[in-house]
Symmetry: D2
Subunit: 365 residues, 4 copies
Amino acid sequence: MSSIFGQAFKIATWGESHGGGVGVMIDGCPAGIPINEEMIQLELDRRRPGQSDIVTPRKEADACEILSGTFQGVTLGTSIAVLVRNKDARPAAYEEMAVNYRPSHADYTYEAKYGLRNWQGGGRASARETIGRVAASAVAQQVIKSLYPDLEVLAWVKSIQDIQAEVDHETITKEQIESNIVRTGDASKVDEMIDRIKEVRADGNSIGGVVECIVRGCPAGLGAPVFDKLEAELAKAVMSIPATKGFEIGSGFAGTLLTGREHNDAFYMEGDRVRTRTNRSGGIQGGISNGEDIVFRVAFKPTATIMTEQETVNTDKEDSTLKGRGRHDACVLPRAVPMVEAMVNLVLCDHLLRQRGQNGQITMK
Amino acid sequence: MSSIFGQAFKIATWGESHGGGVGVMIDGCPAGIPINEEMIQLELDRRRPGQSDIVTPRKEADACEILSGTFQGVTLGTSIAVLVRNKDARPAAYEEMAVNYRPSHADYTYEAKYGLRNWQGGGRASARETIGRVAASAVAQQVIKSLYPDLEVLAWVKSIQDIQAEVDHETITKEQIESNIVRTGDASKVDEMIDRIKEVRADGNSIGGVVECIVRGCPAGLGAPVFDKLEAELAKAVMSIPATKGFEIGSGFAGTLLTGREHNDAFYMEGDRVRTRTNRSGGIQGGISNGEDIVFRVAFKPTATIMTEQETVNTDKEDSTLKGRGRHDACVLPRAVPMVEAMVNLVLCDHLLRQRGQNGQITMK
Amino acid sequence: MSSIFGQAFKIATWGESHGGGVGVMIDGCPAGIPINEEMIQLELDRRRPGQSDIVTPRKEADACEILSGTFQGVTLGTSIAVLVRNKDARPAAYEEMAVNYRPSHADYTYEAKYGLRNWQGGGRASARETIGRVAASAVAQQVIKSLYPDLEVLAWVKSIQDIQAEVDHETITKEQIESNIVRTGDASKVDEMIDRIKEVRADGNSIGGVVECIVRGCPAGLGAPVFDKLEAELAKAVMSIPATKGFEIGSGFAGTLLTGREHNDAFYMEGDRVRTRTNRSGGIQGGISNGEDIVFRVAFKPTATIMTEQETVNTDKEDSTLKGRGRHDACVLPRAVPMVEAMVNLVLCDHLLRQRGQNGQITMK
Amino acid sequence: MSSIFGQAFKIATWGESHGGGVGVMIDGCPAGIPINEEMIQLELDRRRPGQSDIVTPRKEADACEILSGTFQGVTLGTSIAVLVRNKDARPAAYEEMAVNYRPSHADYTYEAKYGLRNWQGGGRASARETIGRVAASAVAQQVIKSLYPDLEVLAWVKSIQDIQAEVDHETITKEQIESNIVRTGDASKVDEMIDRIKEVRADGNSIGGVVECIVRGCPAGLGAPVFDKLEAELAKAVMSIPATKGFEIGSGFAGTLLTGREHNDAFYMEGDRVRTRTNRSGGIQGGISNGEDIVFRVAFKPTATIMTEQETVNTDKEDSTLKGRGRHDACVLPRAVPMVEAMVNLVLCDHLLRQRGQNGQITMK
């Protein structure tokens, strides 16, 4: 279903950017996992608007409330619900959108599908929808931690437009990424990236970029054959984040230029652990993790809302023009980092529980 | 579940490369759709081994049998099952793999997950698994045709290693693609591509490339908000095909270099139809089709099986070596074309029925 | 999943009897359906505590808030969330249950499953959980009404302990049922039933009974072969309501005493409509509705909470005793009526959308 | 979906009574479980036609073939497919049904739903469909055995029409049940039951009855809150078997006559095990097993096919008559016993894996 995700660890989200609030219900969470509002708030704060001067200034504390599913600080095993109220909604800023479709937004397609839409702030197509994902991911992280304390999901901004970060996958830390407001892993590119975003915003324009993500400490054996291959699940998960245009794992598109002899990852023993010399597979082979770092990249397009008059059509199906208003990110990348991590945590938590359900934990180390 | 795909038009597949056979069960297919074994066979013949001298010589007619779900040439509305027997299995060719993990294959990961594996020919990780998908897609195509006769899914080889095909999306036809054994859309590159494949094969090596796919005549309104965005569903669908490493839609990774002003697709009226001047969105906005061509690309890695001795480890967890044997594709691209089309047909058929179920057909044109 | 129900019209519920609140998220609801809080409140008021002097005196207005999914009074097609806050929670009344398992309650089994439980008021096993079902059903009713305005779901109390109501299925109306606080369909038994409930309550005891339900105006063709037979879906739906012990459709258990010659429902034409002379099938044949009234009965056990000291064990696994406290129904039947109707509406709405998705509406009249 | 069942242990079935064959695909089965065709055949032989002189004489060996999912005698963890060919199909016996709807059969409802039907032998509504269930159950039994060797599912004929068997739940064995062709648990009623069936059949008539089922050795903690309560899942599972009219668990409908004081199951300690003095709950409280025997009953109607001319309508929507032909059971009860057991095994296996996935096995003893 369109707002439900996962099989064993299943989440159901709701909420428009303008309305009573956004939230998530989680079904299938193990019992006895420590969860509280502070844990969830930490993650929500990483995605919330107004967190720095390069993101949208919409003022939302995004304070969360756990409505159900926990007792005395731990999960009950029954469904968990988390709610975040909308506070700083300004529907007036969107009145023009009531009759004009914003280019490269979802206004026209929602109307084509449903015959109507909530034109106040993007409705369900707003990035505000991702609050439910991030809140659920905070819970998923605790489940993962209870089973695999060493598993770590780490994403960073790999590029802003043509500014490429060089990041050492072995040594990069969450602290380094969070130490700069653009959330890149290359300290030497921070200023350039920030300047570029501000410059583009000042021009009423927008830009995109690439998020890179690794998963360290993932046990071998996660994922599944055929349709639910781990890379396929990750691809769907991150391609469901607003503004994404591409996904590649391991060698990715560049890998198509190599020969098999160059591309194959030779196995060798490192102590009692099976390792590969290279990691063009990106940590997944045949849809199942092999214990190496999972590595992938996600392309985000330039934000569709720009402060420039653009050609469009209106709801009477006449040619028209529209100029962006409202408060928006000129570049979604800094806030996309926690969204990507959130989707990865959800996928991994789901597959950890699926693997335990089907095969127990015996084969996973 | 790992071998079940789709929500409204749901398929369940089974079968290893060496065993009784491979097949598919389809649940939720509309009643009264004309289906017969010849229709299915046509699609199976496009993916079968031995179809040309640049693919694996394994001799499989891949003759299908409809076991249930049709009566007097049309679907009954109840579950359909299609079976293809394995004929030319040669388990002896795989005995060495019983103890050695093939690099960049699924041998090690299946064993990590399940504690055992069918080492005869790749088991469920064999490309032979895709027979079920292609057979189901032949049925899906008939359903689509009954609802949207003009909808057309068309894939071709966009590149083999660094050999790039130039393809005009407006004019390319299935006949042009099927007229050459490599299934590219650029007649001027056919010989070069074929030569490259043969050359690499003669060297015991392998190569990869990119498949491009368009969907023409897709109604606006297909897809869904949030998790089941049409591009997310397509991403999962094609990233579940063996050997895929990347997916990008519309502007894709290159789109991250543009600004919003360059990237946005302006709307205009063409008669009574809403159109966009450009199509960097790739036919999908906010997860829902906008009526323009859906356009995406899929990266396929070089085939993992190569006829060269490679470093690996064995089931006793000792360093070892292995040289490829058996009959394999040196390049999967020609056979990947129908596999990509199959997954797209399955996704579109599923979403057509989902849209009809939820919203009727009134908003779709 | 344990708190998710339905396929095409899917609901996800949350909430304990003591906690932030209870609610429901609905996914897959058609767009453009008129919905508001008053409509939902009407149904919630039929199930709420304190509605009459034969039900639990817990003071809950059960006021609902639509958090998302509607705009200008109609559904958007995206996920709908409805929240009801808990007001009159009295956890102190349950402290004794923290250490003692209430007989024939879920205290022990929740702890066996999850290793812990929310002992304040029954947690997720409280009948308060059904608020989410009833709220979702109010939405489902509007969807059904938009497609089949004549379809009517009508339940009533068939018996309280041994007091049997005689109800004429042809003429019974909702007004008749709602005109008495016990919600029976036989005016001549109202006083006797009320007296029995009060008498039993005064004695600190409890009683059960049977709810009967009919669906009028259901089109032929709803339901599905094999596992999702309409009677199987209804059975699951109502057997998931707390305190149910049995389900029978049409002739039910008594039908096992007849021969086929007596039991079969002969077909005949009534104008252009296919009818059956009798309706021992209960409106469903082969899992699919035949256009006759759907008729079934549901057994509810006597409420487990009684104001008598009972033998039990405690969380230290020692023999113990416990006497009921708190505010409870001595007989759940009057409030069970809207719960049964709710589950039926959810099942029918789901199957209406499933049928439209798979087969369109052409074959349904 | 209509022919897919289960969540963690999921089965997909296909096949009509007349066609290529019937079968099942199983997804999510743990790896390493010993399975072979003999094991499956043993269960199929208990449901097959022609097994005794009180069941249909249709000659079907129902020989099964495992098509995929096992290797060297154990499951691979990937999807398993099992096929049974149809042999003794006699479509000619059904030609009259092509134009006349059989009373109390699914002919009319399938046509109302799908616009057409396979009139040869009942198509998907034939009891032959249950082969897939029984084959999958043989696999489920092995999974259960690997986790809970002492868990035993035991069903028997409780009544044939008004002939009631008295069965001691403590001592009844599978051997006792299988020792008589009617599969009742009361040796003193075997002859009377057989005589009744033969007598009714000689008269061209049919009869029904009740199957009772217990599950011994079920761990506490199986099942789930709210919608997937274990009794709700069992109710759906058995009410999806052809010819069922009712389901009751524990005290069932008779329990509605008791007061809470009489009905509640007092807890006490038996060594270190929590037990209940009585078992009116039927082994399930709050939707979750409590470790006592699970006990329920299922009503089966008299077979719809009778050798008597009956009033009906034809496909031209005219009044007509029809007399049963073909080979049928005059009483389905003896063959219903393994069908009921099959559905219970499927539900329990599914919930065992769900519980292991969500909560590990720590809380289950």
